[in-house]
Amino acid sequence: MSARNRELLGLLPASALVIAGFAAVFVQRQNVLSNVSLTYGILFLALCLGAHVFLRITLPYADPYLFPIVALLASLGIVMIYRISATDARQQAQWFVVGLILFVATILMFRDYRRLEQYRYVIVAISLVLLVLPRAPGIGEQVNGAYLNIKLPGGITFQPTEFSKIGLVIFLASYLRDTRQVLVQGARRLLGITFPPLKHFGPVLVIWGVAMLALVLLSDIGSSVMFYGALLAMLYVATGRLSFVVIGLIAFIGGAWFLGSHIAHVHARFETWQHALNPTIYNAPLGSYQVANGNFAMAAGGLFGQGFGESIITVPGTHSSLIPEADTDMIYAVLTSEIGLFGAVGVLIGYLLFVWRGFKTAMLSSDSFSKLMAVGLTSVFALQVFVIVGGVTRVIPLTGVTLPFISYGGASIVANFVLLALLLLVSNRARRPVRQNT
């Protein structure tokens, strides 16, 4: 079977899920929702099919599993958001369309994605600007102590760090392709530890600074873990030196620990993580109300969940939310509450499959830039899942990043479609049969 036929077949589970999910939510809430909303499901499937046809024409050799996995995750996401807020689901569907347009545009513009290397300094500059934009007066917006969003005209809020992560990965892939040899050869041993040469390590230190900056300026632990983790992953793959990673980790943990004890907001996040069920912290402003109720929702889900639409999200008879940010930060808790441990693990396996195909793409690639970019994009994606799911399940402190393709959020869905487009571009080149190679 050809790769594209396998992809088409892979879209079947997503179709089944989206139809069953919408039907379930509709049956449960038919007194509130109009049956017009059922057309969302059909529209969604039509869009997926369209994207598939487009891939057939433009990237015939690309990995056949990446897109169906994304479709499956996105279909679960749209059902969950629809179940939480029909209004948000309509907006998410619009963002989904925008995401697909950028997906198509990325593929058409960067058929030869290696051209991206030429713009690496422009890309990193834009990424850094996007990163600090939420702190800019007038357009920045503070949410729960962190600066994550910018406000665009028309009341749209946007999380620009979602794009920064892609830009930084492209830059690092290009930079490490050039310097990986010298980083290894110029390394010196001091006190039994191998240190990289400072001269070539500069830009890497810049990224460390960026991660720390994300912590200080944006008070955003999540983004800084994502960026920095991707950096270390790429550094490790580029040089093969675990010692670089260890040094980097120590530098990061040291910085994070220092900031954690000196920035009230970051410190509060640590407290709510460790003592979520402490009544004082639970009732405090910016306390553990959100995390604790996420835990309670998951407990209500149990092994098999309560069913779509059964989780209690707002206090009945009021508009005050029992699970704040139910369709963004906390969507994993709602999801676990409704489809249980089995469903939640299924979702995690979905993400793991994506990561596996991403790394597979990197391994099949012949040149270092492609390898490093695929590794970076995949790592940043995997870390984003870890940061938000880990935050909700209290493996680590909760910070506001989205669950890729599932959470409600315009920037998230659009940026992750660009990420997918880049991975498919790398994959198409890597898997192209040799005799047709140009």
């Binding site: 449960q28 309560q306 676990t336 990561v355 995997a382």
Partner: protein, 474 residues
């Protein structure tokens, strides 16, 4: 580089393993603790959607019911306010409940009635619980309250043949319709009928008599020394007003409640046998009634420091225990069980408040049948003590409890409390009627009165409640 990518994937697998582990922790391993956490509103929100079964008195009067509160929710109301509070209890959500509401929470909450589909329990939001029919008699309950007239104390009435609790009322009480309850406003969740620890005074002489007669050491006609004082455990013990009665029969000693006689009987019977009979009557265990464990107290003997002696301890002053002092601490329900045992020919039935459950269609789904708790003594011994107790009301300390035409077997008690010389007492009365065919057994106690006598103050309350219950056809 591919080597590193494989290792990196391994690391990501470990990270995701952590996510799976923690998700399992919250959904499965810690789920029960999280569901019961006091910060968790989900359980309360879900509970509010349950239409709990009603709780009814024995005549069908509604004691507790769920009324619509809007938004598909139900609110629990108690039409009788505080009158049945201590037995019916209250329900403010799982873990925040008391009394029968708590003990039978599962039954009252009922089961899901509609079928769950693969898409989840979509239409099962409406749950209907079973209705609980109790044995409580509203008229007797009302009578107990009006006779206590606001005084601190408790009244318990049992049906000797079945163990059915006909009345259980104590002051102070609370209004289950209100979540506010402050001691300064005369409100208390403490159920004195089942949780309090009073010295039983001379009512305990029935237990002593049971041990003495059923072992064959004494008969109602045994001649005993009624002089005062007598040295018991090395300390002189006096009769009331230090009155010496000379040599008297055991029946007379009960009729006049002669302390020196019963203390000597207790010493003669001995600690092991006394302890055995106390256990037979239900002492040293929580009463086997259908109320939550936290609302019950096992009757026992306390040291002067207030620590419970192990049953049969040689440190006990068995002579003074035999007259209901010496650190003996009992709940009113326990003394009602003693009276009930004599009334039912030596059989102690399990006291119970529930009689049956019916489902939403009105069909009986469960009947609580009478069951024997202990066979305490022979029918003959019980008959002997029954006869002795009749003389207490007919011509002894219990004459104020007389029921006129109906024979009432009883025993008074006036337990000294507080420091010596303060002249504070806990007046008691236990008994049953009609003595020749007992239908009702009763125990009444008042708390910490200014030297009032059981026969004078507790006796008339017992008589009034028994009269009401007999008029009710019990």
């Amino acid at each position: 580089m591919n080597d590193q990518i494989v290792k990196l994937f391994g690391f990501i697998l470990v990270l995701f393993g952590l996510l799976v582990f923690f998700t399992s922790k919250w959904t499965v391993f810690d789920a029960t603790a999280l569901n019961n956490n006091s910060l968790n509103h989900l359980t309360a929100i879900r509970d509010a959607k349950i239409k709990r079964g009603r709780i009814l008195a024995d005549n069908g009067e509604v004691l507790a019911k769920s009324v619509p509160a809007g938004g598909g929710e139900w609110k629990r109301t108690y039409p009788q306010n505080s009158l049945f509070a201590q037995t019916v209890g209250y329900w403010r959500g799982s873990g925040n409940d008391a009394g029968l509401e708590s003990y039978y929470a599962g039954r009252l909450n009922g089961k899901t009635e509609s079928i769950s589909s693969v898409l989840g329990p979509l239409s099962s939001s409406l749950k209907v619980g079973d209705t609980l029919h109790t044995t409580l008699d509203p008229k007797a309950q009302e009578e107990a309250r009006s006779e206590l007239a606001g005084r601190v104390g408790a009244v318990v009435a049992l049906q000797p043949r079945t163990g059915a609790v006909l009345a259980m009322y104590a002051n102070p009480t609370y209004d289950p319709n209100s979540s506010k309850c402050s001691a300064s406003a005369g409100c208390s969740y403490f159920n004195r009928a089942t949780q309090a620890a009073y010295p039983p005074g001379s009512t305990f002489k029935i237990v002593t008599a049971g041990a003495a007669i059923n072992t064959g050491k004494y008969s109602p006609n045994s001649q005993v020394d009624g002089n005062s004082p007598r040295t018991i455990s090395g300390v002189p013990l006096e009769n009331d007003l230090n009155h010496s009665y000379g040599t008297v029969s055991l029946t007379y000693a009960l009729t006049q409640s002669i302390n020196t006689v019963w203390a000597q009987v207790g010493v003669n019977v001995g600690t092991p046998v006394m302890t055995d009979y106390m256990k037979r009557f239900g002492f040293y265990s929580d009463p086997p009634i259908d109320l939550p464990k936290g609302e019950l107290r096992a009757s026992n003997v306390l040291s002067p420091a207030g620590v419970a002696y192990p049953p049969g301890s040689q440190d006990e002053d068995i002579g003074r225990i035999a007259i209901g002092q010496g650190g003996l601490s009992v709940a009113p329900l326990q003394m009602a069980m003693v009276a009930s045992t004599i009334a039912d020919n030596g059989n102690l039935m399990r006291p119970h408040l529930a009689s049956r459950f019916t489902n939403s269609q009105g069909e009986t789904v469960q009947t609580i049948r009478p069951s024997l708790y202990h066979h305490v003594m022979s029918a003959q011994s019980a008959q002997d003590i029954n006869q002795m107790m009749r003389t207490v009301v007919d011509e002894g300390t219990g004459t104020p409890a007389s029921l006129g035409g109906i024979s009432f077997a009883g025993k008074t008690g006036t337990a000294s409390v507080g420091k010596a010389g303060q002249q504070r007492t806990d007046p008691w009365f236990i008994g049953f009627a009609p003595a020749n065919d007992p239908k009702v057994a009763v125990a009444v106690v008042l708390e910490n009165t200014p030297n009032e006598y059981g026969g004078q103050v507790a006796g008339p309350i017992a008589a009034a409640v028994v009269r009401t219950l007999l008029q009710e056809g019990k």
